[in-house]
């Protein structure tokens, strides 16, 4: 089976007056994947999504969604997608249920409103006016609206905004469940952690342009990530340090008094180090890990890395 593109951007450019919001962006999101669209605030994420939804017209280039032209065939696109937009606003005077009824009617869908609201945990507030909802409740309502009609593609713009950690986890579970049923998920975030936890592939954009597209592991592997392990040991000697240095993935191990400092590359295991010390009869007290995280990688990509590297 040939994989079809759920989203395909080709030379996409958007200029607002003097500001180049999206700069010659090429991107392909395959059907069935969970794709993270990552970039700092103002990088052009929302503008790109706005073009996919035909809220904004590109200056040049094209965008297609599920094989339809995002501008010329926006109605077909909207029929088959579910959207959680950024900076949206609910209708204050309408209840959650009325919002859902409006979506069901608009999509001509045959949906169980209460079941969907139950899934996003907003059912108990269904008959209250949405104007009184908290930010997290509004997010749950709009996610429920996005799920109506089993869309083929979910476009989520900063979905975790306003959610507490528990809510963010539930959001991820719903995204995974939808993806398991074959829905492609495209979501944007400015926080690497959210993307890392769930995405098959990630695009990082900055200043309207693409700086990296890869899987999470690919991103990790492509950078010189190192982890530094600091272990408090009470009875270790230089021979123990020597033994640790021989372990796979370990680059260096130095003993300074009661502290053993170990640096390792991405494929090393800190548990191997701890187990080896334990086997050698070393008493391990506290230990701390300073991981070169994807967050650091993200920062590296989205600040002037040329200068940093030079």
């Amino acid at each position: 089976m040939i994989l079809m593109a759920a989203i395909e951007l080709d030379g996409l450019t958007k200029r607002f007056g003097d500001v180049l919001a999206v700069d010659d962006l090429d991107l392909m999101v395959e059907e069935g994947e969970i794709f993270g669209f990552l970039g700092p605030n103002g990088a052009g994420k929302s503008t790109t999504i706005d073009i996919l939804l035909d809220f904004v017209r590109p200056t040049s280039g094209t965008a297609s969604v599920l094989g339809y032209d995002a501008q010329k065939e926006s109605l077909q696109v909207r029929q088959r997608i579910g959207v959680l937009p950024d900076a949206y606003h609910v209708y204050d005077r309408l209840t959650g249920r009325q919002h859902m009824e409006f979506v069901v009617e608009s999509k001509g869908a045959d949906a169980d409103i209460e079941a969907i609201m139950e899934r996003t945990k907003i059912l108990e507030a269904a008959d209250r006016k949405a104007g009184g909802y908290s930010k997290g409740m509004r997010q749950r309502l709009v996610l429920a609206m996005a799920l109506v009609g089993d869309p083929d593609l979910l476009i989520l713009d900063e979905p975790a905004t306003g959610l507490d950690p528990n809510g963010a986890r539930e959001m991820r579970e719903i995204i995974r469940a939808e993806n398991d049923r074959g829905t492609t998920v495209f979501f944007s975030s400015h926080i690497m952690e959210q993307v890392e936890a769930i995405c098959d592939r990630v695009a990082i954009i900055n200043k309207g342009g693409l700086v990296a597209v890869d899987s999470i592991d690919g991103l990790r592997g492509s950078s010189d990530t190192t982890t530094t392990l600091e272990i408090t040991v009470s009875n270790a000697g230089e021979d123990d340090a020597e033994m640790v240095r021989a372990l796979g993935g370990v680059q260096s191990a130095t003993l300074e008094g009661d502290t053993l400092r170990v640096t390792m590359s991405g494929d090393g295991s800190k548990f191997d180090v701890l187990n080896a010390l334990d086997d050698a009869g070393v008493e391990v007290g506290d230990f701390s890990v300073d991981e070169y995280s994807l967050e650091d990688l993200f920062v590296q990509y989205t600040t002037q890395k040329q200068e940093v590297r030079a």
Partner: protein
């Protein structure tokens, strides 16, 4: 046909606005008061000897012109600009609606709200009028109601279109109030002032013909003129004059009102839709 869903939602939403209900209460009060005043004191109020239903129709028309223009502004100025400003339009347009569906849906939804409000006010007003005057005349009242419906839709179209040209409610408010001030308050003075200046700072014996055309341009003037064209005998009997007889050009007829009303019904919508369709939201 997805504009139906938009219109229904919009009607539901707008009809829960407290401001609207306040206006309905005010209009019911005003219409009742006008009907009462006209029926009890026709000589003082309307300079006519005897109260008649036809007289009440024309007497009410000017109040309706003012009420409809003001309520249309209150009910519609945020209709599209407001949704763009706060971002609820993103929820609307993420669903399978085209911008035309949204535009038409807004127009129909808000027109429904306003027509309902005007209908309630007029029903109460005429009931009081019929009771006090003691006669019931269906035809002039029905004609009046139908024309008022058209006029209301035209005004809703004007304000929704103004709202569709911008994503800022401040700007929409300025434009809508500016429209009202220009066309409903100061308009009549403009041709006079022009003639006065052109004529060397004095008014001529007779006004140039074009002044008649220009003074009929405001929506509410075209509404009253159309009413005269539809009910010439009633207008005649109550002494309401279109002023057309004194001007000797082909367009100086009450039917001019239809043409101008049609203009207001069509042109603002075309401009508003064109601007909305082309905009980055």
């Amino acid at each position: 046909m997805s504009w139906v869903a938009v219109a229904k939602k919009d009607f539901r939403d707008a009809s829960q606005s407290r401001a609207l209900w306040g206006l309905v209460v005010v209009f019911v009060g005003v219409a009742s008061l006008l009907a009462y005043a006209y029926a009890e004191f026709p000589t003082t109020i309307a300079e006519t000897d005897e109260a008649s239903v036809g007289g009440l129709v024309f007497f009410m028309a000017s109040a309706v012109g003012l009420f409809v223009s003001l309520t249309a502004i209150v009910v519609c100025y945020k209709s599209i600009a407001g949704e763009r400003e706060i971002g609820s339009i993103k929820l609307l347009l993420a669903l399978p609606h085209t911008r035309r569906d949204v535009f038409v849906g807004k127009l129909v939804g808000r027109a429904g709200v306003l027509v309902a409000a005007v209908a309630v006010g007029l029903a109460v007003g005429y009931s009081i009028g019929f009771a006090l005057i003691g006669t019931v005349e269906v035809v002039p009242v029905l004609v009046f109601l139908l024309l008022t419906l058209v006029f209301t839709v035209a005004y809703v179209g004007i304000v929704v279109s103004i709202s569709a040209t911008t994503g800022s409610t401040t700007r929409a408010t300025t434009l809508a109030i500016g429209f009202f001030l220009l066309f409903e308050l100061v308009w009549d003075a403009i041709p006079m002032l022009l003639v006065y200046v052109v004529n060397g700072f004095s008014l001529p014996e007779t006004m140039p013909d074009w002044v008649y055309l220009v003074t009929q341009v405001p929506p509410s003037s075209s509404y009253v003129l159309s009413l005269i064209a539809l009910l010439p005998d009633v207008a005649d009997s109550v002494g309401t004059d279109s002023g057309a007889e004194e001007v000797d050009v082909f367009y100086a007829t009450p039917e001019l009102g239809f043409a101008i009303l049609l203009f207001w019904l069509v042109v603002p919508l075309a401009v508003g839709y064109y601007r909305f369709d082309a905009a980055d939201l």
